[in-house]
Amino acid sequence: MDNTVLRANSINKYFYQPEPFHVIKDISMEINKGEFVSLIGKSGSGKTTFLYVLSTLDTDYQGSLEINHKTLTGKQIDELAQFRNEHIGFVFQFHYLLPEFSSIKNVMIPAQKLKRYSVGEIEERAYQKLKMLDVHEQALKPAGKLSGGQQQRVAIARALINDPTVIMADEPTGNLDSRNTGEVIEVFKHISKDLNQTIIAVTHDKDFAKNTDRIIEMSDGVILKK
C-alpha cells in the first residue's frame, strides 16, 4: 500500500507586499507515514511559508496539495478548518495557548470541536496526553501561569489530542532552553516511532534537525537537499 501521507506538487507562492516576490519556487515533495521530517534553511528561505502552505492555513498558492490521499487544494475554508481539526496538529514557536483556560481545557478544545468522543472521555484522553508529556500536575492551572517549557508541552499535548495524521511544528524549540529542547525532541521521536504519526518541523536548530529522520533544506524558495 502507498505509504505516502503528504504529497505536494509543484507548489508556487508569491508575496505581493511590499513588492512581488517569488517565495516558493515549484516545490514538489512527498512525506511518508511515521516520518519525522525537519525543514531547515536560513531566514527568508521560505521554509515557514512552505509549512503554512502544507498546513492548509495558507490557501494563496499555486500547485496542489494532498494529505492522507485527499486533495486539499481549492477546498472551502470551512472544509479545510474541519480537515485541520481532524488530521493536523499544530505546535508553534510561541506556544499559543489560550491563557484564560486551564491546561487541560486547552488540550480538550480541539477534541470538543471534533466531537469524536464524549466530554468525559475527552477529559480522560487529554489527561493521558498531559501525562505522556509529564505536565499532568499542571492540568488545572490556567495556561497563562505555566512556565515556557510547560506551556510548550501542553501545546504538544493539544496537537496530539485528535490523533492527527500530521503534526506541523513551527520552531517548536525556538524558545526553549537546552534541557526542555531535549525533552521535546524525545517526545517527538516517541510520537513518530511508537505512535507512527508524521511530524514536519521547521527549525533553525541543527541539533534538533540531527535527531530527525530526514532533513529538507531550503534556500531561496527551492529545496537544496532532500
Binding site: 498546513s55 478548518a81 499544530f90 508553534f92 499559543y96 478544545i109 470538543q112
Partner: protein, 414 residues
C-alpha cells in the same frame, strides 16, 4: 452541565474579563431602564391627560348644529346663472333641538358597543345666593348614565348623585360655584335662566373635576328642570351623548349617526385635537430620545467587543488553526454579545421598575395629581427588553463578523 464548546469559550471570555463585561452590560442596563422609565412616565402622562379630557367629554356627541349657510331659492334653482343681490342675509329663526330624541337615544342604547348614553339639555343660567350672582350652565342629564361616562361619584366632594333623582328640585354644583356663593350641602340657591325663569333649587351634591373652568360654572339637574328653565316642553333635547367600549371607534360611530339621523356628531378626538397632537409630539420626542439612548448603549457594546476581539486576535488565530471555522468564531462572539445583552437586559428591566416605582412616590400637587403619573403596564418592559437585546445583537454582529475573517497565518507569523 454540557455546553457546546463555542458557548463554553464565550463564557470563559466573559468571566475572565468580568469588569469589562459588567461595564458593557451596564450600558445595556442603563439604556433599557431609561427606556422603560421614560416610556412609563410618558404613557402615564398621556393616560392622565386622556382621562382628564374624557372626564367631561363623551366619546360621541350628537347635536343639531345651527346651519345658516342657506342658499337663496333662486340660486338653488338656477345655480351660477343668476347673481343673488340680497345683502346682509339673516339666518332663519330655528331651534337647535333634536327631533324625536328618545327614539335616537333608544337606538343608541341598543348598540352593544355603547356603555352609557344620555340625552342632554343645556341652559345658560345665573346662580344667585343673596346678592352674589355668577353665571354658568345647567346640564340636564340622566345622572346615572352621566356617572357611568365620567365617574362623577369619584369627583363628589359632598352629597350623593342619587339624591338628584329623589329630590325634585335638586342640583349638583361645581366646587367653584359652591365656594364663590358660600354654599354648603343642602343649602338652597336660585337658578335663573335667560328666558326669565327662576327656580329655587336645593344643593344635593358638590363635585370637583379639577378643571376650574368646569367647577366654576357647571351644574347638573334633572332633564325636566332644565327644560323648565328654558320654558320648553318635555321633548326638547339638544344633545345625545354616549360612550363606547372602545373609544377609538368613535369616528366610525360619528359617521354612522350623521348618516342615520342627519344631525351633526362629534368624536372626542376631534373635539380635542390639541390633546391628541400633544400626545403625538410627546411620543415623538420620547422615541427620538430613547433611540439615542439605545444607540449609545449599542456603541458601548460594539466598542467593548471590538476591543475584546482585538485583544483576542491570537486566540482566534489559534482556534482557527485548530479547526474552528469562521462561523464558530462568529458564534463565540455573538454568544458573548447575547449573554451581555441578556444579563444587561434583565438588570435593566429590574432597574427600570425600581426607578419607575421610586418616581411614582414623588409627591407633586398639580391639577388633581398627587404623584407623578406613571404607567406600569408590562408592554413597556417587554419592548424595552426587546429593543435592548436587539441593539446588543446588532452591535455584536459586526465585530463578530470581523473576527471570522481574521487570517491566522498573518497573526501567527506576526
Amino acid at each position: 452541565m454540557k455546553l457546546k464548546i463555542n458557548t463554553e469559550i464565550a463564557l470563559t471570555h466573559i468571566t475572565s474579563r468580568m469588569k469589562q463585561s459588567i461595564v458593557a452590560a451596564l450600558g445595556v442596563t442603563f439604556g433599557i431602564s431609561m427606556y422603560i422609565f421614560v416610556n412609563s412616565i410618558l404613557s402615564g402622562t398621556n393616560d392622565y391627560f386622556e382621562k382628564t379630557t374624557l372626564s367631561n367629554i363623551p366619546h360621541v356627541r350628537i347635536y343639531n348644529d345651527l346651519n345658516s349657510d342657506s342658499v337663496s331659492v333662486s340660486q338653488e334653482y338656477f345655480g351660477d346663472q343668476v347673481v343673488s343681490a340680497v345683502s346682509s342675509q339673516k339666518p332663519l329663526s330655528t331651534t337647535n333641538n333634536i327631533r324625536n330624541p328618545w327614539y335616537i337615544l333608544n337606538l343608541v342604547k341598543r348598540d352593544p358597543e355603547v356603555t352609557a348614553a344620555t340625552a342632554q339639555v343645556t341652559s345658560n343660567v345665573f346662580y344667585n345666593n343673596g346678592s352674589v350672582q355668577i353665571n354658568g350652565s345647567a346640564f340636564g342629564v340622566n345622572i346615572l348614565e352621566e356617572d357611568k361616562m365620567f365617574d362623577l361619584k369619584s369627583m363628589m366632594q359632598a352629597g350623593r348623585i342619587e339624591d338628584l333623582l329623589k329630590i325634585n328640585n335638586g342640583i349638583l354644583i361645581g366646587s367653584g360655584i359652591a365656594s364663590k356663593l358660600n354654599i354648603k350641602l343642602n343649602d338652597n340657591l336660585y337658578v335663573a335662566s335667560a328666558q326669565g325663569v327662576t327656580k329655587l333649587m336645593k344643593v344635593v351634591g358638590i363635585f370637583q373635576t379639577s378643571i376650574s373652568n368646569v367647577d366654576n360654572t357647571k351644574s347638573y339637574a334633572s332633564i325636566s328642570n332644565v327644560q323648565q328653565l328654558l320654558m320648553e316642553d318635555g321633548s326638547y333635547i339638544t344633545d345625545i351623548k354616549f360612550n363606547l367600549k372602545d373609544k377609538d371607534l368613535a369616528p366610525e360611530y360619528v359617521n354612522k349617526y350623521i348618516h342615520l339621523t342627519g344631525y351633526s356628531a362629534e368624536a372626542w378626538s376631534s373635539a380635542n385635537q390639541t390633546v391628541g397632537a400633544g400626545m403625538v409630539i410627546r411620543n415623538f420626542i420620547a422615541q427620538a430620545m430613547l433611540i439615542t439612548i439605545l444607540v449609545v448603549a449599542g456603541f458601548g457594546i460594539y466598542n467593548i467587543l471590538n476591543m475584546t476581539i482585538h485583544e483576542k486576535m491570537k486566540d482566534i488565530a489559534i482556534l482557527k488553526a485548530n479547526g474552528f471555522a469562521g462561523n464558530d468564531i462568529t458564534n463565540i462572539f455573538i454568544t458573548e454579545a447575547t449573554l451581555i445583552g441578556l444579563s444587561g437586559g434583565v438588570a435593566g428591566v429590574i432597574l427600570g421598575y425600581v426607578i419607575s416605582y421610586l418616581a411614582a412616590q414623588i409627591p407633586i400637587k398639580l391639577a388633581g395629581l398627587n404623584t407623578l403619573p406613571i404607567d406600569f403596564t408590562p408592554s413597556n418592559y417587554i419592548l424595552g427588553f426587546l429593543f435592548g437585546t436587539v441593539t446588543t445583537l446588532l452591535a455584536g454582529y459586526l465585530p463578530a463578523k470581523k473576527a471570522a475573517t481574521v487570517d491566522p497565518v498573518q497573526i501567527i507569523r506576526g
